[in-house]
Amino acid sequence: MENLLEVAGLSTRFKTYEGDLLAVQNVSFDLREGEILALVGESGCGKSVTARSVMGLYSGSHVRLEGSIKFRGEELSKLSQDERAARRGRDMAMIFQEPMSAFDPLATVGEQMIDAKLAHAPAAGKKEREEARKFAVEALRSVGIPDPEMRIDEYPHRLSGGMLQRVLIAIALMNEPKLLIADEPTTALDVTIQAQVLRLIRDLRQKNNMGVLFITHDLGVVAELADRVNVMYAGRIVEKATVDEIFSEEGPLHPYARGLLESRVRRDLKGKELPSIPGSVPRPVDLPPGCHFAPRCPKAGPRCLSAAPELVPVGEGGRCAACWLYQGGVQ
């Protein structure tokens, strides 16, 4: 399978009054066609910033990006803003966490869908508009919106959160992109609606052979949907594995990924203490030296507090971890 997306050495730095904030630090990953790659982590770990950097949503002097982002072999980081914009929404599309705030409240969902399509057809006339409208109705139908002919003329406030998220997916699919970036698309939704939206993403991946970068904090969702998993903590990827490896008997390699998986509420723990990770996620302006997880890590040693481990392969089969435990010990 061809690599759809190759990200290498991506760092995203913001200038703030409190000093430089390194939100994403030397992140590398590949995504193949037809594959769902989950980027997992808690709030502030840099997963959304990674997604937005890949989409090219950051510009201006307050933000600095380093590293390489290749989409189907083409280096995106060298392109101008206009060239990026031409690819956005056409080759790669993104859906966001809060469907309620992702829409323009003053335009109907149909208008917003048609605009998304015609943004990449500058000389479009009346005929193209009508065709785009027909296409939009079909797109709404394919994401499971009942009565799409009627719904297309509704304003966003008339639709529920679950419906809006599906419309957002329909907009993302208007130009049949090869890459879909989904940033916590079900976090704001109820469990039964979450299942509907996840199923839709899975079916579309199969139908369009789309690559999906799926960003979430919920490992339960990852187990249901993803092929491979990258776990992030405080701006760095700490573990890369297949979904089978993460959820196998042995579990994750990195102590953070392990802690995250163990803090799920399990049935046999009724009446007992739940395992938890002590402390809280460090603020990105105030990162500890060495391994960022060391102050909360049950296995940390002196080496972890002074030097940061690289993300290196552990064993065969492409599994990687950034932890001294697998690189000669923590002493």
Partner: protein, 334 residues
């Protein structure tokens, strides 16, 4: 059986929808319909359901933040005087007793703490309201020592009294909110989604704190959450709500082992399996969405989405019936 704290019967809450220049009431949102419950010291009643099912309204009616309809019997400490009807205004003395006994923890610790109040002000405020904050300098010093001890109990440093909420992370703020709820030594705390705004790795810390306090103090919780696994972990009994109504109620383990109502079954099936070899929830998707609480369906509220619904379900509203083992269910099919 432990002492009863609250007993609700046919609790109801409707919010008027107002329109026009004269703000005439044109309709009602039926947020909570006919809710019955009992809560005793030392036990946890779990409330699960999706957004808009009325679980937050229920918590607020029980804590008397919203004025409900129906009956809410309050059994004061000691139990000699007999129960007091707590719907509607109460005499000052009973009002104070009720508020001391029933406290609340809110979902979002970023908006439930006043940013201009120091940690000490936040925790001391309930004591001031009840005249327990100490009259003279000596008394206030003593209270301050108690506050330090309380902070340490909820897992914070005692020296943070003079700091402000913005200096703390979400988990720490929720601990401050818990300290505030505990300061009056209540018998019941209504916990409205106490962990859903927190990071995954911090959620279990807060849950552990709540269960530990319950073991030590023997207080009761009404634990409201959309997180099924979490509700199961903390609860003795669980009510499953849909559109303001209880559709099923039972012992926590019993209910999860053998859900009888089609909605409970669907809700449990929508929870992830945590096993990539047993991916299941994408295959039993429940279609449709809950109808608007403005115009409830004539029959069973779940009827329009129910995979098993028949003719009767569309016409007649099922009553909540009691089955064996204290299981209650509102469904024509069971």
């Amino acid at each position: 059986m432990n002492a009863m704290i609250l007993k609700g019967a046919a609790l109801r809450k409707r919010f008027p929808v107002k329109k026009g220049v004269f703000m005439r009431t044109v309709a009602y949102v039926n947020a909570l319909e006919r809710f019955d419950f009992e809560i005793h010291e030392g036990e946890t009643l779990g409330i699960v359901g999706e957004s808009g099912c009325g679980k937050t309204t229920l918590g607020r009616v029980v804590a008397r933040i919203h004025q409900g309809e129906g009956s809410l019997l309050y059994y004061p400490r000691g139990g000699n005087a007999g129960p007091i009807e707590a719907i509607g205004p109460l005499p000052r003395e009973n009002e104070l007793a009720f508020r001391r006994d029933v406290q609340m923890i809110f979902q979002d610790p970023y908006s439930s703490l006043d940013p201009r109040m120091s940690v000490e002000d936040v925790i001391r405020e309930p004591l001031e309201a009840h005249g327990l904050a100490g009259r003279d300098r000596e008394g206030r010093e003593k209270v301050r020592e108690e506050l330090v001890a309380l902070l340490e109990r909820v897992g914070l440093h005692g020296d943070i009294l003079e700091r402000y909420p913005h200096e703390f992370s979400g988990g720490q703020r929720q601990r401050i909110a818990i300290a505030r709820a505990l300061v009056l030594k209540p018998r019941l705390i209504v916990c409205d989604e106490p962990t859903s705004a927190l990071d995954v790795s911090v959620q279990s810390q807060v849950v552990n704190l709540l269960t530990q306090i319950q073991r030590e103090e023997g207080l009761a919780y009404m634990f409201i959450s959309h997180n099924l696994e979490l509700v199961r972990h903390v609860s003795d009994r669980i009510c499953v709500m849909y559109l303001g109504q209880v559709v099923e109620e039972g012992g926590a383990e019993d209910l999860f082992d053998l859900p009888r109502h089609p909605y409970t079954q669907a809700l449990l099936a929508s929870a992830p399996s945590w096993n990539p070899h047993e991916r299941h929830f994408l295959d039993n998707v429940l279609y449709g969405e809950p109808p608007s609480p403005l115009n409830l369906p004539k029959g069973c509220p779940f009827g329009p989405r129910c995979p098993k619904a028949g003719k009767r379900c569309g016409e007649e509203k099922p009553a909540l019936r009691t089955l064996e083992n204290g299981r209650k269910i509102a469904c024509h099919l069971v």
